[in-house]
């Protein structure tokens, strides 16, 4: 398929359709409103269903229903709207249902701003709902990667029976880049034998969320964590950028990593041995990448569009919090190349 120039918000909508998603339930919020706008016109063309819900709360509970009914289903929002969806995400997770949630993050907290941010890291990665659970969290750094990750998110959700969050930001949503759509489904996606379809002549299916007995509930949690172990083993993904000879490594994801990439160009031109470890999955965090490169890295320079929410995960991954330093911008600001270059020089202190 030839490349087309598409806005991130529309491209992720098309990606969902290409991956076989036929159901979208959502609510408008800047800077992701082009996702529902696009799908409101495109889903009906392929026999799909678009519902503009009365709220994000309703939207995610529609997702819960559609997922339970066996459909590939998507919702999208931006930070405050995702905060509203947390209840439903917890229910979907507890019921081991597959669903894809796109968050085009903006600055927060509260109503915050509409400019791009990454301050929903904790909400997505640590879980913003109640209880012991994880979301799989994918972090695209370009429109093409957002497309690829949305497609894969549906497969991951179906493989493991879990909600998958595609954690992008307003800049990726609003930006246009060339994209192509080449969905190849993963092998081994299980059939949805548990789906609510009416029992017909067979056994009835029940999607439960309440486990009144604590021992049963504990056991249920353990079953979830068995799935999480598999995800931890199989799904860690990252990019190593100029790390072979690097003595310093930026750790950055999404839009912030784009700025870092440009900054590395300037620093390398001056002879600094610096590269980037870019997590593509935030949960599971790419622990394996750190195990691979840690031997020759003196410091990890964490660059985020938040106040450093990823830092504890970087410290845990490299097992030395003294090796992790942070620079970030928040509230809707994107770090500039200059400030990233200056920060890195200060940390490296002329160590070329």
């Amino acid at each position: 398929m030839a490349k087309v120039l598409m806005k991130g918000n529309e491209a992720v909508g098309k990606a969902a359709i290409e991956a076989g998603c036929r159901f979208f339930f959502g609510y408008p919020i800047t800077p992701q409103s082009e996702v529902p706008e696009y799908l409101s016109s495109e889903l009906p063309k392929v026999g799909g269903t678009f519902v503009q819900a009365e709220s994000e709360v309703a939207a995610i509970n529609m997702v819960y229903g559609a997922a339970a009914a066996g459909a590939r289903v998507l919702t999208s929002s931006s930070s405050p709207g995702i905060a509203l969806k947390q209840e439903g995400i917890g229910y979907i997770s507890n019921a081991s249902l597959p669903a894809v949630i796109i968050n085009m993050m903006r600055g927060g907290p509260g109503l915050g701003t509409i400019q791009p941010g990454q301050a929903d890291y904790n909400m997505a990665v640590k879980g913003g709902s109640n209880g012991d659970y994880h979301n799989v969290v994918l972090a695209p750094a370009s429109v093409q990667e957002a497309v690829d990750m949305v497609m894969d998110a549906f497969d991951i959700a179906d493989m493991y029976g879990t909600p998958v969050i595609v954690l992008a930001d307003g800049l990726i949503g609003q930006m246009m880049e060339p994209v192509e759509f080449n969905y190849v489904p993963r092998k081994g996606i299980p059939e949805k034998t548990w789906a609510l379809t009416g029992k017909g002549d067979g056994e009835r299916h029940v999607v439960k969320n309440l486990v009144i007995d604590p021992d049963d509930c504990e056991q249920w949690n353990h079953e979830h964590f068995e799935a999480y172990e598999k995800i931890l083993a199989n799904e860690q993904a990252w990019e190593e950028y100029l790390l072979d000879d690097a003595e310093y490594a930026f750790v950055s994801y999404g839009t912030a990593s784009r700025v870092v990439r440009t900054a590395i160009g300037y620093l390398r031109a001056e002879g600094y041995k610096i590269g980037m470890l870019r997590p593509k999955t935030l949960w599971p965090f790419p622990q394996k990448a750190f195990e691979k490169v840690d031997g020759h890295i003196k410091k990890y320079l964490d660059i985020e569009m938040s106040m450093g929410q990823m830092m504890p995960d970087v410290a845990y991954a490299c097992n030395d919090k003294n090796k992790v330093v942070f620079h970030g911008r928040t509230g809707g600001n994107v770090p500039t190349v200059d400030e990233v270059v200056e920060f890195a020089k200060k940390i490296m202190g002329g160590d070329k």
Partner: protein, 250 residues
């Protein structure tokens, strides 16, 4: 010998956990009988609430999902949009539907979602132990309104059927009760009609059942039935509030 009566196959053999005198058991059975008589048990999917009926899925012998508090109409929307040919119903109490889930029920009704909602209105929170409900009558005692609901402090009860009847989306709205044999017969007719209208794809259908909660009302089952007659029904009058099939016949 010919069988003249048997329990509906649309209920399981699990023993109900409801208190003596509670109307849930009666309404469960009416829903189940209607589905069986319509041969729709195989197509039915129930969205069960948070509240006393949270375990309704243990009793309904068909597909079911336990929903988040108040969100059953949204979850039902998701299911019905995926399976437009199935019978989708929500079964909700007054805290679930008329308090935390007011937004979801109003908009499911306004969209004309082709699902059926059974609304159990007993004017009190049962599962959590007798707190004030959005439908608690003025003067009625609750553990969060110990001297009785004072509209000046606690606001006024909602008449949900009347509210929803102002919308264009619903096809059928009726309020019934199950405190007398005649009322039970009428309640079954209403539920059957709602399900039939859903099957015809005509719009949203809603049956409110004015019910009892002897335990949290502090009354015997018999006194609770009398309370329904003397206090609840005067505030929540029974009857049909909307019926587009009747309007069409005019």
């Amino acid at each position: 010998m010919a069988v003249v009566f048997e329990k509906t196959k649309a209920l399981t053999d699990v023993k109900l956990h409801y208190c003596p005198g509670c109307a849930h058991g009666i309404v469960h059975r009416l829903v189940a009988e209607c589905l069986e008589e319509m041969d729709e048990v195989k197509n039915a999917i129930a969205c069960v609430p948070v509240g006393c009926a949270v375990f309704a899925n243990n009793y309904f012998n068909f597909d079911a999902i336990q929903c988040a508090h108040g969100r059953a109409p949204a979850t039902a929307t998701g299911i019905k949009r995926v399976h437009p040919d199935k019978m989708v119903l929500t079964y909700q109490g007054d805290g679930d539907l008329a308090s935390i889930g007011t937004c979801e029920i109003v908009h499911a009704a306004a969209r004309g979602e082709k699902v059926t909602t059974i609304f159990i209105n007993n004017g009190i929170y049962g599962m959590t132990g007798g707190q004030m409900a959005p439908t608690t009558l003025p003067g009625m005692k609750a553990t969060t309104a110990k001297a009785g609901r004072d509209p000046k402090i606690n606001g006024n009860p909602l008449r949900v059927s009347e509210m929803l009847a102002t919308l264009t989306g619903p096809a059928y709205i009726e309020r019934v009760s199950v405190s007398t044999p005649a009322q039970v017969t009428q309640a079954k007719k209403a539920i059957k009609k709602a399900l039939e209208i859903q099957k015809q794809g005509l719009g949203f259908t809603f049956v409110e059942v004015v019910s009892t909660c002897p335990t949290n009302w502090g009354l015997t089952p018999v006194k609770a039935m009398e309370f329904v007659r003397d206090k609840m029904i005067p505030y929540y009058p029974l009857g049909v509030f909307k019926d587009i099939t009747a309007e069409e016949g005019k």
